[in-house]
């Protein structure tokens, strides 16, 4: 446990987006259709397409994006953002590469449920909830790294579901991971633009807490969806 001094008073928006996430709840988030066919048919190193798939997966992955929103919600200096995002990237790169390469066998639904809970965790942290309720909290940097490991495990299960050909596996894997980072940067830039605009408005202060409650809701819904998938079976989504 580690108490950090409270500094930034920034909050951010995306309330509408998050409300949408929570309400629609149809988070199709596997690699599907023709992309899956492509991956299954790939033989040998094919870096550019795999990079694209990684980026696409990240940009269209609501759970990863929601978590990122939570992470940078109260970060307003670029150095802080870079540190937290690097910790997150480090975490998910480790488990993505290791999970696929060493063929770890993890249930995708359970991993995705924990990813949903990571969103909820971050929202509670943003509300100062762990301190209010328990009088302390895990160092946010450690938490973001730890959840990065879980998110990477989620990425790994999605790639593993496609039965990658061992021929050129490492190249394709690293390319996919690189693509994930590129996609994350792209999504992050967009989120930052919206957040910065939001922070500048007077509406930010009163809506910041509401936005984090919505984030909390989105996290719970994501987790519930995945638990249902684990209990009732069915396609990973």
């Amino acid at each position: 446990m580690n108490r950090l001094p409270s500094l930034s008073r920034k909050t951010c928006a995306l309330a509408a987006l998050l409300a949408l996430c929570g309400a629609t709840a149809a988070f199709a988030h596997n690699i599907g259709g023709t992309d899956a066919a492509f991956v299954a048919a790939a033989r040998g190193p094919d870096p550019i397409p795999f990079m694209y798939l990684g980026a696409k997966h990240m940009v269209t992955g609501y759970d990863h994006l929601a978590f990122l929103v939570g992470v940078i919600f109260f970060l307003f200096r670029l150095r802080q953002i870079a540190l937290y995002v690097s910790l997150f990237s480090l975490g998910h790169s480790i488990t993505l590469l290791a999970g696929v390469y060493f063929q770890w066998n993890v249930d995708p639904h359970l991993v995705d449920a924990v990813i949903g809970l990571s969103v909820a965790y971050k929202a509670i942290e943003n509300l100062g909830g762990f301190r209010t309720l328990f009088g302390g909290q895990i160092d946010p940097r450690l938490a973001v790294f730890g959840f990065g490991l879980v998110h990477g495990l989620g990425l790994a299960t999605k790639l593993q579901a496609l039965k990658l050909n061992p021929d050129g596996l490492l190249t394709n894997l690293v390319s996919f991971n690189l693509g994930v980072e590129i996609g994350q940067l792209l999504a992050l830039s967009l989120i930052l633009v919206v957040m910065t605009l939001w922070r500048r408005t007077r509406a930010f202060e009163p809506t910041a807490q509401a936005a984090n409650v919505l984030l909390l809701l989105a996290g719970f819904v994501l987790a519930g969806h995945q638990v249902a998938g684990y209990v009732f079976g069915g396609a990973v989504s």
């Binding site: 008073r9 709840a25 802080q80 943003n126 509300l127």
Partner: protein, 217 residues
């Protein structure tokens, strides 16, 4: 450096927010996601709202190479379709006119779609068929035989996939007091057997009217 809002949410509101979010999430999962995505409707909301209609079963893709089900196959034999009209005399005309065997040659794994019907009598008990196939062994070798269907009746519809290289077909027997015609339609991957060869010893000619299909005695 901090990731905290300077103004944390008050304890009471925080607990309310967490419980509220959890409750609403449970409602969304149970009321919307379960009916729409998993075909479960514990609250009955899915049926009321029509969300349950969104659910559709997953497609189970089978691997034809591994599964025990029929596979898509390709054949060197060209596809063909024939209509064979087989006239059969009444039972008083003698066995050589009222009974005969008609078969086609099929490679192993080839499929034949068949449909035949007897005209000239409406009494199923008057007509007997024996659908079978066998290999054409070299001298001194054993013959592999497969009997598919035997019985009385005036028609048969179906498909046959040959389990071995050989000939497949029917022994037709007319036991009625009237001459009849068997109209046999075939499609698939097979070859007709030349007149007088084993399988077509009666010399039936395909794709001509019944009156021309059989050489006179």
């Amino acid at each position: 450096m901090s990731t905290e809002p300077s103004r944390p949410m008050p304890r009471g509101r925080l607990i309310l927010a967490i419980l509220g979010a959890a409750g609403l999430a449970a409602l969304i999962v149970l009321g919307a996601i379960l009916p729409a995505e998993f075909n479960r409707d514990p609250l009955g909301i899915g049926k009321l709202s029509g969300l349950a209609r969104l659910w559709a079963p997953d497609e189970a893709v089978i691997d034809p190479g591994k599964s025990g089900v029929a596979a898509a196959q390709e054949y060197a034999t060209p596809f063909r379709t024939d209509v064979i009209e087989i006239p059969l005399g009444d039972f008083l005309a003698g066995a050589d006119r009222s009974e005969l065997e008609y078969k086609v040659r099929m490679p192993k794994g080839a499929t034949l779609i068949y449909s035949w019907e007897v005209t000239g009598t409406s009494e199923p008990r008057d007509f007997h068929y024996d659908q079978h196939g066998h290999t054409m062994p070299a001298k001194g070798q054993p013959m592999t035989v497969a009997t598919w269907r035997q019985g009385f009746g005036l028609r048969q519809n179906g498909a046959l996939t040959a389990p071995f290289d050989g000939i497949q077909g029917w022994q037709f027997s007319n036991a009625s007091e009237k001459p009849v015609v068997v109209r046999l339609r075939l499609s698939g991957f097979y070859d007709l057997i030349a007149s007088g060869q084993p399988g077509n010893e009666a010399g039936i000619v395909a794709n001509v009217p019944a009156t021309e299909a059989r050489p006179p005695r």
